[in-house]
């Protein structure tokens, strides 16, 4: 199994993991208090193993902060002042608790020396707990972070060695071991001890305010919380681009190439998505739902996210938690309107909103938008041999599916004499281009009119679970059961099985996934496709779009190079990335000859090595 491309989760001690996730959650608006509560419990659990009295105080202080509020059943209506007070207080409590747990581990390490094994264990535990602050300290207090790192290193060195088979042992330098850990303990006590208070920053982070070397204006880069997963599914979903499927030479479609590049580019987004290397493709892998995508606090379940949040774009936060299931983009040119609630009739407007308001990007160049739309308009549904051109079942469909089709087309009085097919029109790609309120959305108040959602297509849907706008239905069967229950359709178990067989048949397709988990060669070929837009961009005099292209290719190569099955070819991957760096730098300087030279060199180097880069 090729897994080298997978970005592994950072291995953190549970208390460090809980603290980092909790801090992330406390910075969201609204605060996901249930997630916070879980992490608070984890911190409390670990603190109790270290210091039961401190854990008792932590418990009572936490309850006092929440008051009569059990964590906010409806945090979306929490008053800003209440939220601010609570989140700061909880953050301070958690920071002090982690500080206490760390100090206890350090004190234990000091106490158990010279027991080599126990001292090593407690030393390692101390370092693991310090990782709670390690996403911030290197940036806001690098001098102190280095001192702490050297102290741990020296302490580790002081432990010595048992040697191998009674040879080569090194004795335990206990005074040096203790002295180094006392240095660490003093820093923790001063900065993250019982007096710790959150600084004035709106974005809460463990700043060592008492440290003389603390850089007040320095800011740590924003990170996703532990538990976040941006890795894509493997094997990859099969992407069908209409023009490629027709055998068109990709070098002839520079606008589509530009769009493909942009779809894969973090550089069309702003911070923090850009630094997190996120692109359209992160959520819509090859244009298809990425069911793995999850960000604790922003997702209610894998495969979805609240895109109007204050993490990715503070200014466009709508202030309430409304996560959406990531839609499948296959056949998107047939499925207007766009957005789960159909708020955009134009795909172009929808894409611009994603770039600017969901992921904080700059206003996109019109040609860039043209490219993305041209690319997305090439996305096709999976071919389905069980469907006729008019959406009826072909002769190859099963008997169960045929019985299900009849149910699908049957008007139900409970649905105002409408059938499933009324909205999912078989002859029109199973959509009606309308929005309907089916009762799947909780409105802002009873009888509110904010609950209509866009009719999704059923084509290729067998591979896009979960379902509904919020991903609340895990299977096609559960969707049918929901309709049966909600509208009292009176369908029997047998009926539901038939209906599900029908929907699954409609949603099926040929070769939904690629047949290999090794795809570096395909990625490298795609990067060449990106670069095929170079001459077009030159003709249009778009140096900024060239830069985005160069940067995107360089970043993608560096991200993907660990997929190589033979690491002997890493230098070639590095050289290709460096040529894109060079093209970028030359373009910045206006050195056109060097830009062209770098692009040509890239093409030559890739052509000479393409067989090895897999």
């Amino acid at each position: 199994m090729a897994t080298a491309h997978i970005i592994p989760p950072e291995e953190l001690h549970p208390v460090a993991e809980a603290y980092r996730r909790c801090t992330f959650a406390l910075n969201l608006n609204p605060v996901p208090w249930e997630l916070v509560r879980q992490d608070v419990e984890s911190i409390e659990h670990w603190l109790r193993t270290a210091d039961a009295d401190a854990a008792d105080r932590f418990d009572s202080d936490y309850l006092a902060v929440l008051g009569n509020d059990d964590g906010g059943e409806d945090s979306s209506v929490e008053a800003p002042s209440t939220r601010e007070r609570k989140r700061r207080a909880v953050f301070e409590l958690c920071t002090r608790a982690v500080g206490r747990a760390l100090l206890t581990a350090l004190e234990e390490a000091i106490r158990v020396a010279p027991d080599r094994e126990l001292a090593r264990n407690h030393l390692n535990l101390s370092q693991a707990v310090l990782a709670a602050f390690a996403d911030t300290l290197p940036y806001v207090d690098p001098e102190a972070y280095r001192i702490l790192g050297k102290a741990f290193l020296s302490a580790s060195d002081a432990i010595g060695s048992d040697g191998l088979m009674n040879h080569g042992g090194v004795s335990f330098d206990v005074p040096r071991f203790r002295s180094n850990l006392q240095t660490v303990a003093a820093y923790i006590r001063a900065n993250f001890g019982d007096d710790f208070a959150a600084g004035p920053d709106a974005w809460l982070s463990p700043r060592p305010l008492a440290s003389p070397t603390h850089r007040v204006r320095a800011v740590a880069p924003r990170r996703l919380p532990p538990g976040a997963n941006l890795n894509k599914q493997l094997p990859r979903p099969r992407q069908i681009l209409n023009m490629a499927a027709r055998g068109v030479d990709e070098s002839q479609t520079p606008l589509i190439a530009l769009g493909d590049m942009a779809f894969d580019s973090a550089f069309i987004f702003g911070e923090p998505a850009r630094s997190l290397a996120m692109s359209c493709n992160t959520c819509h892998n090859k244009g298809v739902t990425n069911p793995n995508f999850v960000v604790p606090g922003l997702s209610s379940r894998p495969g979805g996210m609240d895109v109007s949040n204050n993490f990715f774009t503070g200014h466009a936060n709508n202030g309430h938690f409304d996560p959406l299931d990531i839609p499948d983009l296959r056949g998107i040119r047939f499925t207007a309107p766009y957005g789960r609630n159909g708020r955009f009739s134009s795909l172009r407007e929808f894409v611009r909103n994603v770039i600017v308001n969901e992921f904080n990007g700059p206003e996109p160049d019109p040609i860039l938008l043209d490219g993305i739309i041209a690319y997305m308009n090439e996305f096709d549904f999976l071919p389905n041999p069980h469907l006729n051109a008019d959406g009826t079942l072909a002769a190859s469909a099963s008997d169960a599916a045929r019985r299900g089709e009849a149910i699908f087309r049957r008007p139900f009085p409970q649905m105002a004499d409408r059938s499933c097919a009324t909205c999912h029109v078989p002859s029109a790609n199973f959509v009606d281009h309308q929005r309907h309120d089916l009762g799947t959305v909780n409105g802002h108040e009873p009888y509110s009119m904010d609950r209509a959602m866009d009719t999704p297509t059923l084509l290729s849907s067998a591979y896009t679970a979960p379902y509904f706008h919020d991903g609340s239905q895990p299977t096609l069967r559960s969707v049918n059961e929901w309709f049966n229950t909600t509208f009292g359709l009176g369908l029997t178990e047998h009926d539901l099985s038939d209906l599900t067989a029908y929907v699954r048949t409609v949603g099926d397709g040929i070769d939904a996934y690629e047949d290999s988990v090794y795809y570096l060669d395909a990625e490298m070929e795609e990067f060449s496709f990106f670069l095929s837009a170079f001459e077009f961009l030159a003709e249009k005099n778009k140096p900024e779009l060239m830069n985005a292209t160069f940067q995107t290719i360089a970043l993608e190569i560096r991200n993907h190079k660990w997929e190589l099955q033979d690491y002997a070819h890493l230098p070639t991957m590095d050289a290709l990335a460096e040529l894109m760096d060079e093209a970028y730098e030359a373009n910045q300087l206006g050195d056109w000859d060097r830009v062209v030279g770098s692009v040509e060199a890239y093409r030559r180097l890739y052509a000479a090595n393409m067989e090895d880069l897999k």
């Binding site: 390692n124 535990l125 280095r146 080569g168």
Partner: protein, 316 residues
């Protein structure tokens, strides 16, 4: 000496958590202790690279494969370090063990252990080397640049994490003797406790350089790896190996050697086995002379007394 990851596999490794979790446990892990195994069983000591319970799970398909090929019951168990493996073999509780070259050479001298197979690493060779690693942005480009700088090694009893990288500086006459090279060429030397700790010390800027395995950079996260570069390379060392106790029947030795040497990474079913065997690409038969490059180094530091034993294949 703790085992360190020579070749990073797609397995989540967290030394910190693992080591904390190991406190108080005996050095051997298995469904039952190795000394409870019957005499008819082939007892194989696997070294732990992660949570021992996970390793026990990982070795099950390996054990099943070997049982099928050898036609004898195979009992796999996990030890936490090479010393435990060798001790277990010395006490008759282990027939076969996965060890590093230093542990093998010592085991050969002390108990007559026999080398069977060398692991083959990603570049297709049954050898590896150590590097001197620095941060890419450090401006350091060669070993000589480290005069007056700080240096991290993995462990004082470690071939690739100390003896081999140290040898780089000795061959350049930058250091000499056998004592810890503190305060001379280097301003300060640290033994970080493992390859990963040493690499992280460089990555984080706690030291100027680290001397560890050529593959140690893979212990960093993918996005971190490009920030460290090698500036010097040691001599080649034979790879980690499979050794057996003296007296193990020639038939079992032959079958075991053939069974592992036949594994072909291009075959999916074999790859599954190799993935569980430390992620190596395969095995080749080992000879005593494979250790001729590192035996003098081991002898210099007193780990072995008779390096000449490893200069020819007469001893096998």
């Amino acid at each position: 000496m703790k085992f360190k990851i020579l070749w990073a596999r797609p397995i989540a490794v967290c030394f910190v958590v693992c080591l904390v979790g190991l406190a108080g446990h005996s050095p051997a892990w298995g469904a039952s202790a190795p000394d409870q195994a019957t005499a008819e069983q082939l007892k194989i000591a696997f070294i732990s690279y992660a949570n021992p319970q996970q390793v026990i799970e990982d070795i099950k398909p390996v054990v099943a494969y070997l049982e099928g090929r050898l036609r004898v019951p195979v009992k796999g168990f996990v030890t936490l370090d090479y010393g435990s493996s060798v001790e277990s073999m010395r006490n008759g509780h282990t027939d076969v063990a996965f060890v590093d070259p230093l542990a093998f050479m010592m085991a050969h001298e002390q108990i007559g252990a026999i080398p069977l197979l060398l692991e083959v690493y990603p570049e297709g060779k049954p050898t590896y080397h150590s590097n001197v690693w620095v941060r890419r942005d450090s401006g350091l480009t060669k070993a000589e640049d480290l005069a007056g700088k700080t240096m991290a090694f993995a462990d004082p009893v470690d071939m690739s994490g100390y003896l081999l990288p140290r040898d780089i500086f000795e061959r350049k006459s930058l250091i000499d003797g056998v004592d810890r090279p503190d305060g001379g060429f280097f301003s300060r030397v640290y033994f970080a406790g493992g390859d990963e700790q040493a690499m992280r010390a460089v990555f984080n800027g706690f030291v100027d350089a680290a001397g560890v395995s050529q593959y140690a950079y893979l212990l960093l996260r993918p996005e971190e790896r490009d920030q460290v570069i090698p500036i010097a390379q040691s001599i080649e060392s034979p790879s980690h190996l499979v050794m057996c106790r003296p007296g193990l029947s020639d038939d079992i030795q032959r079958k075991l050697t053939q069974s592992l040497a036949r594994l072909d990474i291009s075959r999916e079913e074999d790859k599954k086995i190799l993935d569980k065997l430390y992620g190596v690409r395969g095995f080749v038969e080992a000879k005593m002379s494979d250790f001729s490059s590192v035996a003098p180094i081991a002898a210099r530091y007193g780990f072995i007394k008779h390096p000449a034993t490893f200069m020819s294949d007469a001893g096998k």
